[in-house]
């Protein structure tokens, strides 16, 4: 057993996932420090989302192990991992369409605080601490004015904000953000970028993103994946200077230009 540093909150060791003959995740080892702002980048099909699915328990690894806050969670059900503080957002919005943002957040906070099985008292009753948390989240994510609308009727940017607000309602110690700004139109982007930048410092964040501006402004550490395996890991400057990383992104106009702009 390798001894991991005490400030490691999430550690994946030798993760392998095969679908039939295809190796989607190839011996990935990844370590997330307390309070980290860690970005996971790589071209489409590099296996980033598969890795998230392995970490959160949606998929079962073919080999390897995952530990959260020093506890082995490799065989734990997804909801048990959430109860221990490992929370994710989705690349494609996964929301509760017939519920309002207020109901959604109150439900998520109540569930997180162990009240999900209470069936006699109304949602949000009691001393009001659930409602207070909902107010905070609604403010922070610019959702207060639409808190009574059915989620399916919200503008795309608002739904994207709700997607992340739900994750924070779960009071994560480790947050996995899967392309938070994907598909958000320019006018609605600013709110989203602000909220990502303002995530609480004590939450360790692993960010998957194609938007290099966001990646380089956000991350203090980066991991590059190619073909299911880790190509390299380092601080943003060394990643931007790494010729292998630039080769991977060669020909992908925007991303390679963004990395190149930070070179030297």
């Amino acid at each position: 057993m390798t001894a991991w540093a005490a400030d490691t909150v999430l550690a994946a060791r030798g993760l392998v996932k095969c679908f039939g003959g295809i190796t989607a995740t190839d011996d990935v080892t990844l370590e997330l420090k307390r309070g980290a702002r860690h970005a996971l980048i790589g071209p489409n099909g590099a296996g980033k989302t598969t890795l998230i699915n392995l970490l959160t328990g949606v998929l079962e690894p073919s080999a390897g192990s995952i530990s959260l806050l020093g506890q082995d969670i490799s065989r734990m059900a997804p909801h048990q991992r959430v109860q221990r503080g490992l929370v994710r957002t989705f690349q494609i919005n996964q929301l509760f369409n017939a519920m309002t943002p207020l109901q959604t957040l109150a439900m998520a906070v109540a569930q997180r605080r162990g009240q999900g099985a209470r069936w006699w008292t109304p949602l949000g009753s009691g001393r009001g601490d659930i409602a207070r948390r909902c107010d905070e989240l609604l403010q922070q994510f610019h959702l207060a004015d639409v808190m009574h609308q059915r989620t399916e009727l919200l503008a795309y940017g608002k739904r994207r904000l709700l997607e992340i607000a739900i994750a924070l309602a779960c009071e994560p110690s480790v947050l996995l953000l899967d392309e938070p700004v994907a598909g958000v139109p320019a006018g609605q982007r600013e709110e989203l970028l602000q909220t990502v930048a303002a995530l609480p410092a004590e939450v360790s964040v692993l960010l998957i993103e194609h938007d290099m501006d966001l990646v380089f402004s956000f991350a203090s550490r980066m991991t590059v994946m190619v073909n299911g395996a880790v190509l390299t890991e380092g601080d943003p400057a060394s990643i931007a200077n790494d010729p292998r990383v630039r080769a991977v992104y060669l020909g992908q106009g925007d991303a390679s230009a963004a990395i190149g702009a930070r070179h030297g």
Binding site: Q94, F96, M107, R112, R118, P122, S125, A131, R132, I166
Partner: protein, 322 residues
């Protein structure tokens, strides 16, 4: 700003002014229309049955074509209990509910996995199995002749179940009201909110820490118990249980009540039961043989135009919003 969410959350479960009015009307109905007490009894029983389906279908998104399995089990359990153990109606009701909780727990294993289509088939299959078991075990159930000779003791030792159906109507109304209140608390609770989350997006529900399988199993058991109570009421107030209680048309009818009244708000079952029974009574008086034709036509029109539009006649000739 602070306190907005608190007030808003409290508002969600607030009792609307029309709710007590509706229940007062329901309780006044047998006294006002004594000659229709038996029909009111039936409406109360089927409303309760439909509410139990709404809990799994409307609030949790579990489709079922075999909800009569629990209705039938409750009916036979109550009838057999009255015949062989104790004729007291409330004891029989509790016994039937207990039996259905066990049946619900066993059956819940069959609805945890798979798609809506597999769930439709599995629930249908379970109801068919129970129907044939009841048919085959004629030494216990009376088989195709039904279970005869069920005589109920007076309710609370005082109120005889007479031919007028007055006791029956008030008994069913009281039980339906009590269970309705419990379910109303339940759907506005955190538990109820997690059920809706499971209905809307099972993947995300899991991703925010809701134990989805446990939720599905527990709500299925609760719905089974309520459906069993409805079945028990029917058997106790009619003094009879026959294979008909397990029949496919029971499962289909209860779905029909919810389609008429609307899913996901608990009152849908009540509205559906009232509308359906009144239509049945009126239509079968006009055309005893062919009344289902009109029910069918009504259903098609209802689903094609939408409930919202149908109850607002002034919108019928306006331009439709697309």
């Amino acid at each position: 700003m602070s306190g907005r969410a608190l007030d808003a959350l409290r508002g969600l479960s607030r009792i609307r002014p029309w709710e007590p009015v509706l229940w007062l009307l329901a309780f006044a109905a047998p006294a006002a229309l004594p000659s229709h007490a038996l029909m009111i009894n039936e409406i109360a029983v089927f409303a309760l049955f439909a509410i139990s389906l709404d809990l799994i279908l409307g609030f949790t998104g579990i489709v079922s074509l075999g909800h009569a399995a629990f209705f039938g089990m409750g009916a036979y359990a109550a009838a057999l209990f009255a015949k062989w153990v104790l004729p007291d109606p409330l004891s029989g009701l509790l016994f039937a509910m207990a039996v259905c909780s066990v049946l619900g727990a066993v059956c819940s294993l069959s609805i945890l996995r798979g798609t809506d289509l597999t769930r439709l088939m599995v629930t249908l299959g379970v109801a068919l199995i129970l129907l044939e078991l009841a048919n085959q075990m004629s030494w216990l159930t009376g088989g195709a002749d039904g279970l005869q000779g069920v005589v109920m003791a007076p309710l609370l030792g005082r109120f005889e179940f007479g031919l007028s159906g007055m006791t029956a109507a008030y008994y069913s109304l009281c039980v339906t009201f009590t269970l309705f209140i419990v379910l109303r608390r339940l759907v506005y609770s955190p538990f109820g909110a997690t059920l809706m989350a499971v209905r809307d997006n099972r993947l995300r529900a899991m991703a925010i820490g809701i134990p989805v399988s446990a939720r599905l199993a527990s709500v299925y058991i609760i719905a089974a118990v309520i459906a069993g109570a409805a079945g028990a009421l029917l058997a106790q107030t009619t003094g009879f249980a026959s294979l008909d209680v397990f029949d496919f048309h029971r499962s289909a009818d209860v779905m029909l009540l919810l389609v008429i009244g609307g899913t996901g708000w608990l009152y849908g079952g009540i509205v559906g039961a009232v509308v359906f029974k009144i239509m049945h009574a009126l239509l079968s008086a006009v055309t005893p043989q062919y009344w289902t034709f009109w029910i069918g036509l009504f259903l098609v029109v209802l689903v094609m135009t939408g409930r919202e539009r149908l109850i607002r006649p002034w919108t019928w000739w306006g331009r439709s919003r697309l």
